[in-house]
Every structure is written in C-alpha cells, then in structure tokens.
Symmetry: C2
Subunit: 144 residues, 2 copies
C-alpha cells in the first residue's frame, strides 16, 4: 500500500469516517494519472468500470482528498476546478496555456515572502492563495 493510501486511511479513521471502495478507486486514479483532472473527467472514466458510481461521490471524495492535503484544487483556463495529487509535492502555482490548456508549475519563495509581507502590512491573515498566470506556452507561441 502506498504512503498516500495509508495517510488517507488514517485520516478517514481519525475523523470517524469510513473507508470505502469508491474512495479508494478515486484516490488511486488521481494518483496514477499524475495530471490535473476535472471531477467530471474522473467521474466519466471510473464510471466505465463501475457503472453504478455516482457523480456526487466523486465530488465529495475529491473534496475530502483536498481536506487531508492529498489533492489540491486548481482553476483551469476556463475557470473550472480541477484536482491534482499533491502528496509530497511542495506548494506551487501554475502557468496555464490559453491555447492548449497545458499547465506549467512554478514556485517562487521570493514571491511567497513578498506576498506574506504585503498581507501582514494590511492586517491580513493568509489562509491560502492562488496565483495563476495565463498566456501561451512555448509550443503554442506562434500558432493561430
């Protein structure tokens, strides 16, 4: 059993929740894919294997995975929410290509610390942030 799965089981147990086959499937699929995925995409793919899987379960589970920090939520170029497996990954933000949708991760301790300083100055307690840069990736630079 992977590290992530153990964390998930522990989290679930510690909160008095229950471990289920559906939750396990969703976690497994998200981890395996290694990409950003929309709830809808997860739903449709897993539904092919298990035609009884419900939409709501997927949404609920992804939210749960976000809560226990195994997944993180990212807004894509069209304003929709997607999730990515985030265990062991340090915090990072995204550049999103408006043409092909490809995302490139970036992180900048210097931006983070400037951000923290600005917030402090305005009396703001930071809980989380979202820093998304939209534009064209190198591959799409000169295309229509």
């Amino acid at each position: 059993m992977t590290e992530e799965k153990k964390i998930f089981r522990d989290y679930v147990k510690s909160r008095g929740l229950k471990h289920t086959a559906q939750r396990d499937e969703i976690l497994t699929y998200l981890l395996k894919s290694g990409r950003h995925m929309s709830p809808e995409e997860v739903f449709h793919t897993l539904r092919e294997r298990d035609p009884k899987l419900g939409r709501a379960t997927v949404f609920r589970t992804l939210k749960l995975l976000e809560e226990c920090r195994l997944a993180s939520r990212v807004t894509d170029a069209n304003g929709h929410q997607t999730y990515e497996g985030s265990y062991g990954k340090p915090h990072h933000d995204h550049m999103i290509c408006v043409r092909c949708g490809r995302t490139v991760e970036f992180s900048s301790p210097r931006i983070e610390s400037l951000q923290a300083r600005i917030a402090r100055r305005k009396g703001f307690q930071v809980q989380w942030h979202r820093h998304e840069i939209f534009g064209r990736c190198s591959r799409c630079e000169n295309k229509i």
Copy 2:
C-alpha cells in the same frame, strides 16, 4: 460625459458595434458603485428600473466592458465572477476575506517582475494573471 463613457463609445464605434441605452446604464451603474459586483447583482438592481432588461444583456455587456478594459473581472471568495470599474486604475490584485467577503487591493511591482522573469524562463508569453490571497481581514481576525 465622463472619460469612461467616451472611451466606451469610441470602442463600440471602432468595432462596428452599436451604442445602446442598456449598455450605457450598465456602465454607469458599475462606475457609480465603485465596488465589485456580480452580474446577478447588476441585473437585479437595474431590472427594478427597467423591468424589460434581460439577463443575457448584462452578461454580454460586462464582457464587452472587460474587453475594452473599462472593467475587470475578479473571482470572489466563493469562486464566482465579479466585475469592477477599472478605468485609470493601475493593475492590482486582491486579498479576499473568507469570512466577510471584503476585498483589499494590493499591487507589487516586485512580484510582477519576478513573475515576468519566471514566465520568460519557461518560454511562456504572459497574457494576464490572477493572484488572489484568501484569509481573514483585520476586522474578522478573532471572530468565529
């Protein structure tokens, strides 16, 4: 006639579009309010004066105002889109209180330039970005 209205008329004309009473009302209202407003809020308020105003017109017009840089779009704490009049305002980002919804503007040339450098390094052509910090504002710091 305000500067903004002139810009709007010119933009509309230059694109071969037409100036209408509805568009004017929506622009006027957005400018007067000076706040971030959801399309729905604009719609309901203006609808009271003009019961024939259509939802779609509001959405279309706000998008048009965004195109000609008279308004800018900001995601609120619940992930919904809002607009604010942005003419003459330099670019800025937002800190959003997750308790009361209040937004505080900030701008940091240093963050902007770090961002530009990172993008350049990854071969990314920046078109726009969104940097939103969520947390608690000073007034809500100690509340439930």
